[in-house]
């Protein structure tokens, strides 16, 4: 009979940080506090740089002054910062947050780290509804567009889920149905674009592409409200994602009601993606890339992944926005194009690095 070295339980060092407050308890990977601190610093620096840069540069000190409400050397600067640059950059940031969360949930639920929030057709759904409206409405009202986009995005993704459900959800079915609906949506969009007058078609195309140009404080408010409500809930749902990632059978044997939880999670993912489409159009890759980077920083446990991922998403988007304005200045790239231009090569790099 073999004998085993006697190691007492106390030498096992848990790989996390636990927060306990009376009966409330929450744990997060050990690496998270450090990662969060670093990322927050990077984000703050990036924010200041981003707001300083523009058609004409504003000194970082003035940026900070304008943000907190103090007087700046040139009163115009204050206006530019507060009414034009800050809303736009904040929208980018918040969109990055929402896309990151959506991507993390989607990759967790589908158990596939190649999944993207757009898998269920959010983009195509929003686009199809909006472009249909623009074509068929005699006098389109721009205020209605965001609501339609949201309805379309959420509607199509829920439809994908329902259609893919058959006594349970299989990954492959979900992907196929999502692809099917997304393709249908794109065809409808392409077709409808041929029915619009060229200038309206161009507007539609720009909207579809993903742009934060001309963002207002109203947009910021909209995003913040949604995120404030949904984010804490999602972070608490992280452990469901952890259990799901082990597989359907193990999750069920742990006592998880996988049907219900999965539906909730997918609805949440679709919701987050839908908000971003509403405000900023179709932005690809961020929802895919952010989880990957976060995972490399803090590991696969979803509590830490979500907390870190939102910061990564924010950094990516703010950085992309800066790049959009800088690369072909004075012209601007729509941010959806920039994220694709950055995202695709990163993707290829990821692939080339893989050993399996």
């Amino acid at each position: 009979m073999t004998t085993h070295a006697d190691t007492s339980p106390s030498t096992v060092r848990p790989p996390w940080v636990v927060i306990r407050l009376r009966r409330l308890s929450f744990r997060v990977d050990r690496r998270v506090p450090l990662a969060v601190t670093l990322l927050v610093l990077v984000l703050l620096v990036l924010l200041v740089v981003s707001v300083s840069y523009g058609d004409y540069n504003i000194s970082p000190l003035d940026v900070i002054r304008a943000t907190v409400g103090l007087e700046t050397s040139d009163p115009n600067d204050r206006l530019v910062v507060r009414s034009i640059r800050l809303p736009r950059i904040l929208v980018s940031l918040l969109v990055g947050v929402a896309l990151a969360v959506s991507g993390i949930i989607m990759q967790g639920v589908t158990r596939n780290d190649l999944a993207d929030p757009g898998l269920l057709g959010v983009n195509a759904g929003a686009g199809a509804v909006v472009v249909s409206y623009l074509v068929f409405a005699s006098e389109p009202n721009n205020a209605v567009v965001p609501w339609l986009a949201f309805a379309g995005a959420l509607g199509v993704s829920m439809l994908s889920y329902v259609l893919a459900w058959r006594g349970g959800i299989s990954q492959l079915r979900l992907v196929l149905v999502g692809v099917g609906l997304a393709s249908l949506g794109s065809s409808v969009i392409s077709f409808l674009l041929t029915r619009l007058q060229i200038d309206r078609a161009q507007d539609a195309l720009i909207w579809l592409t993903g742009s934060v140009y001309g963002s207002q404080w109203g947009d910021v408010r909209q995003l913040v409200t949604w995120l404030l409500v949904l984010l804490p809930a999602v972070v608490l749902l992280a452990r469901e994602l952890n259990a799901l990632s082990l597989g359907d059978l193990p999750a069920t044997s742990l006592g998880m009601r996988i049907g219900l939880k999965r539906l909730l999670l997918i609805a949440a993912s679709a919701g987050f993606a839908a908000i971003t489409v509403t405000v900023a159009g179709t932005i690809a890759f961020v929802g895919f890339v952010a989880p990957h980077i976060a995972r490399r920083l803090v590991g696969p446990s979803h509590e830490g992944l979500l907390i870190t991922g939102v910061l990564v998403g924010a950094i990516i988007m703010v950085g992309a926005d800066l790049a959009s304005r800088w690369v072909i200045a004075p012209a601007q790239l729509p941010i959806g194009v920039t994220t694709a231009l950055i995202g695709a090569p990163y993707f290829a790099y990821l692939l080339l690095r893989r050993t399996r």
Binding site: S8, V12, L24, D113, L236, L246, G247
Partner: protein
């Protein structure tokens, strides 16, 4: 454990879509014992285990636990009584042993109580019981087959269930790891007085490590009882189509079968449909 943790199937009908694998099967799992399901490929042993574990919804009949139908029970409540280890589970990349074992506390946690001191203690105990302490921080994909199985067993242990179901825990492992896992299961059975139900494909392992054997063929129970009663030359011929000698294991005294040759079917062989 005074009250028998009665896990029983009553006229159970299980299958996948229109493919019925098990029909009108009735059996009782004896509390506090190690019961093993054996049988040839395709006999339905894994299907039966999944049915007992409520992982597969029955198309007819019921599975009872302590008199209550398990499909009526809240799944989380059930998870505190029944732990399951499925075949060849896949682990997410980058997950450490500790994190995997921690998942086992899921049925005991609530929305706001995500990691109590008790959870942590149970986790550490499970890791110690499976002798995985030195591997606790290692990533699962870097472990050997035997260690990986032990990690998953540790997760099931952290669940603190009186019953544990294991689906082919030794398949794909070499003989050393197989014994490692089986000895661990036996030890846990003694230390924690657990009721164990497992599916094995090796008859000798089943004979050596079980109190009670259930033999399945084509979805029906053809024999059940102690290894001595069940493992006979006749059974091996009828169920497994082999001619074998039955010896006695010199160390454990349990039946040991040595198969010699397959039995040619003397019935008219149907090439296709009869």
């Amino acid at each position: 454990m005074t009250e028998p943790t009665g896990l029983a199937a009553d006229k159970l009908r299980l299958g996948y879509d229109r493919d019925i694998v098990i029909d009108r099967l009735t059996m009782e799992v004896k509390a506090g014992q190690v019961t093993t399901l054996i049988g040839p490929n395709g006999c339905g042993k894994s299907t039966l285990l999944n049915g007992l574990a409520r992982l597969l919804k029955p198309q007819g009949g019921t599975v009872h636990l302590n008199g209550q139908a398990i499909h009526d029970m809240d799944t989380k409540h059930l998870a505190r009584m029944l732990g399951v280890l499925s075949q060849s589970p896949a682990t997410p990349e980058g997950l450490t042993v500790y994190e995997l074992v921690a998942q086992g506390r899921y049925p005991h946690q609530r929305f706001f109580q995500q990691w109590s001191a008790h959870d942590e203690a149970e986790c550490e105990e499970a890791i110690a019981a499976t002798h995985m302490t030195e591997f606790a921080e290692r990533r699962i994909e870097t472990l050997s087959g035997g260690q990986r199985q032990r990690a998953w067993i540790a997760m099931a242990l952290a669940q603190r269930t009186p019953i544990l179901l294991l689906d082919e825990p030794t398949t794909y492992l070499d003989v050393g790891y197989q014994l490692e896992v089986l000895e661990l299961i036996t030890r846990l059975h003694h230390e924690r007085s657990m009721t164990i139900v497992m599916v094995l494909h090796d008859i000798n392992h089943a004979a050596r490590y079980s109190d009670h054997l259930v033999v399945l063929k084509e979805g029906n129970i053809v024999a059940c009882g102690s290894p001595d009663e069940v493992v006979t030359e006749q059974l091996l011929a009828d169920v497994f189509r082999v001619e074998a000698a039955i010896l006695r294991d010199p160390n454990t005294g349990t039946p040991l079968c040595v198969p010699y040759r397959t039995i040619e079917s003397t019935r008219k062989d149907c090439l296709g449909r009869c």
